[in-house]
Subunit: 527 residues, 2 copies
């Protein structure tokens, strides 16, 4: 077997590790041909030191340099689009088109270019200048950032190409990317593109590095290492919380995106007005990508009524009749099966699905559960456990009061949604549920499924614990996602020529927004 190369200290290089792994095609369950190394701690430590040396070089560079790299990288990715799409299709089972080729890859290069633009303009640094006291501050780069990517977005959240990566680089930090083991070949092609872009834009060795796999204990050592600035992790709750404990103990920032069931409240008027359409909309959103979205709607709360019964029946039929998509990996399948077993044990009534589906690869039946509002409230914690995949739980509440109680019993989630009648008939009920749901979710939606995540400044792809580790941060949305990887740097009475360019009287880019004496402006100080 040929064991593939990592990207370490500016070079494609072999591992000295003695273990290796391969990925599997989810559509067939067959092993893929490439093998990838599990790095020993010595290699992880080598990457950390190389990243720290790179940081010493780049920490005073202007944003333009990071922008050049990000733009060049986007182009190198586009040059390899066909190979990336082919590899990702093989490793994830996602359709080539539209998902991989027409949606996720363009989103990924777009994110890199938006991050480049933010690095160039510099407004993400949020410069504040108080002229009377001559105190000035900005967000500055933090140091090497570790990015753990998840299994479900091989491009847009990949540790070496996704949103966390782009944000960490835009802030001027070297990145050590940890590949997700279910799509290593896709990740290796990104590393090749990154290396080309690093060379073309004369970035130091160690500015972007890739490690395919390491032991769990080494992951904990990595995120808590003195030379590491911060970590971003998207993935399972268990894995994330283990890393969080290690990073917290060392006083290192760690940004987590963990599980979320994304509750949907459908109010009575909406159900009467457009119940059929809502059933369609929900099923499409819930089964898209075999339900493997961070913002997949895993729970629907409906008021008890004949209409709700009809909704349940329609959704059950649609779940039953829709083909079962492939799950991303063997362990996703086994976790899914154990998750739905736990929901059953917690009292959820199985409406359809519940087992392995026919066909090659990792497939489980589209699975739908139902519980009453009282049952949910009596066992809320267990009934909120995420079964990552093509599953959802319908909760039939006795009345509005119980819907409010259900909202209050929710854990922190990325999103929460309310569907209401268009002319306002549900407004009084909305006003009871929404304020409770608001405190439980990062993004509150109206009349829209949560699966789309627009890459705009106002986006919050974050939420209260345990959906993330901190309710004030988002992993999508520039510039907010960038400031996670920065430290607040204040300059008190510092001589003008020694100030970083963003804090000098002259606006260095002419486009940078700065808070000068309490007012946001793009002008020079004193103008």
């Amino acid at each position: 077997m040929f064991v593939s190369l990592m990207l370490l200290n500016g070079e494609s290089c072999p591992s000295e590790g003695t273990e290796a792994f391969c990925a599997y095609n989810p559509l067939t369950g067959k092993a893929l041909t490439n093998w990838y190394p599990v790095s020993p701690w010595s290699e992880v430590e080598f990457a950390i030191k190389s990243a720290a040396r790179a940081f010493e070089k780049v920490k005073t560079w202007p944003g333009e340099r990071f922008a050049e790299f990000l733009d060049a990288y986007a182009t190198e990715i586009e040059d390899r689009a066909d190979r990336l799409v082919e590899a990702a299709h093989e490793e994830t089972g996602y359709p080539v088109s539209p998902r991989l080729k027409d949606v996720e890859l363009p989103r990924t290069t777009n994110q890199l270019r938006l991050a480049a633009n933010a690095a160039r303009t510099g407004s993400w640094k949020r410069p504040i200048i108080d002229t009377a006291s001559n105190i000035r501050s900005e967000f500055g780069s933090l140091g090497p950032v570790v990015v753990f990517g998840p299994n479900n977005f091989p491009f847009a959240f990949n540790g070496i190409s996704g949103g966390d990566f782009a944000a960490a680089i835009a802030a001027g930090n070297p990145v050590i990317a940890k590949a997700h083991p279910s799509h290593p070949t896709t990740t290796a092609i990104f590393a090749e593109a990154a290396l080309a872009a690093l060379e073309k834009t004369s970035m130091p060795a160690g500015f972007v590095q890739l490690i395919f796999q390491m032991d769990y204990e080494d992951g904990e050592k990595l995120v808590s290492h003195p030379l590491i600035g911060a970590t971003a992790f998207t993935g399972s709750r268990h894995g994330g919380l283990v890393l969080k404990a290690a990073a917290d103990k060392a006083g290192k920032p760690i940004y987590l995106e963990l599980s979320s069931i994304n509750p949907i409240f459908i109010l009575e008027g909406a159900l009467a007005e457009r119940g059929d359409a809502l059933a369609d909309e929900f099923v499409v959103s819930c089964l898209m990508g075999t339900g493997q979205f961070c913002t997949n709607p895993g729970m629907v709360i409906l008021p008890k009524s004949k209409l709700a019964e009809e909704f349940v029946q329609k959704v059950t039929e649609k779940f039953h009749n829709a083909p079962a998509g492939a799950l991303l990996a063997e362990n996703v399948k086994s976790n899914f099966l154990s998750g739905i077993k736990q929901l059953q044990q917690a009292g959820a009534e199985l409406l359809t699905g519940g087992g392995v589906a026919e066909g090659e690869g990792y497939r489980c039946q589209n699975t739908l559960f139902k519980v009453s509002g009282s049952e949910f409230l009596s066992n809320a914690e267990r009934l909120q456990a995420e079964a990552f995949g093509n599953e959802s739980l319908l909760v039939i509440a006795d009345d509005v009061k119980q819907m409010v109680e259900i909202a209050a019993a929710l854990e922190g989630n990325l999103t929460g949604c309310l569907y209401t009648e268009t002319t306002g008939k549900d407004d009084a009920v909305y006003d009871q549920i929404a304020p409770v749901l608001r405190q439980k979710v990062g993004r509150l939606l109206n009349d829209k499924m949560p699966t789309g995540v627009a890459v705009v400044p106002s986006m919050n792809h974050g939420g209260p614990y345990p959906s993330t580790g901190h309710p004030g941060f988002t992993s999508v949305g520039i510039p907010a996602s960038i400031t996670r990887f920065a430290m607040l740097q204040c300059y008190d009475n510092v001589r003008p020529h020694r100030l970083p360019s963003a804090l000098q009287d002259k606006n260095p880019t002419g486009e940078m927004w700065r808070l000068v004496d309490g007012n946001w402006t793009q002008a020079d100080v004193g103008k």
Copy 2:
């Protein structure tokens, strides 16, 4: 003995606890007459539930309501200025004038009014509106906040009146204040003023509460309680890290301000140009308030030279000749003595002081240490231990290279300072040391001691771990200090009349700064 009243659920009330404590006059060491209760867990829990009920009421209120309370509170404090100053003088030993009456109390009411203004204007919410996608987001209130105040600022950092308190209230959160046990009477007078302001502005019971003391274990339960939004703590490293561990485990934000030794680099040219003046400036800053400032200069790094020897001699004489001020409490004194013992054991040479001083109360001699740069580097961790009080360590570096190494060996600090010759003779050396020091400190100063902390938007009273728990946050400086106690709340496709006022098309205050389609503006959307 009469055990004083707490402020719980809108009422002054007695404790059911069986333990009580009193404070001591630091100038005499004598017990003061009032006794204060140690609350059992049942009372802490009662406060939490009361705060949570208050939050349910206020969470949709406009900022104006919180501003009215903050303004009214500032006035109530001013009405009690004489009593507050008298009590604080008795409990801290700080001079009535200028320290307590003319500096700290006006700073405190100013902070409350600045926070009121921020709550009123609403720019702290950082509203972002993207019209094409109709996604809008803002920072919203988080839930009850616990504030632990330190011993060294009885007014400006008091749990029930200081900067953290003001920021948490401005963000619309109820506060549970934990008094510092060395100044409970001062704190009780604040509680009386707060209660009067709560009543005058019709705030709900439980919006501001005060507990004097609780067991350590109950403190951990408090900061990790499901109904608590976040915690702010200013105090010792040990106590702070115990609370941090509990809060981290529960996924609750905690903002810490811990120890800091605030290194000062004096370069050769500055020493030649104005060594005498610098010696004066340093001694005044270091011994002010008996050295009990968060930003007290606890370490000075000088290049080896005859001038440095003269500086050392001058400072030693001044330390020796200056009167020894009182430390805040018996445990501050004992910690100080044990801290200087540890510095000696770590190899620091005692130049003057080192023991208990004559006179009544908690007094230790002004204490100065010296080590060579090599000695410091060989034992950097132990030699950076803070001895909170009137002590400093002079480090004599062999050369510029060693000064850079010393900067690199520093832990995270709140501040770091470089003194250089005025016409630029030290600039080349500055350029070697400053980039290294920059990453170690929250606030970088030139030619200025760090003990002054201006309350302006650009201030960073924060820094890398272990000076605080996160390098991106500041506890002083509005609006940044306020957003710590907020959650990011996004509205996706939400109907216009349901949006919070800050995110509606019309600018609700006319003065609120909002990021609309990438541009900061005070205008209405579409105007």
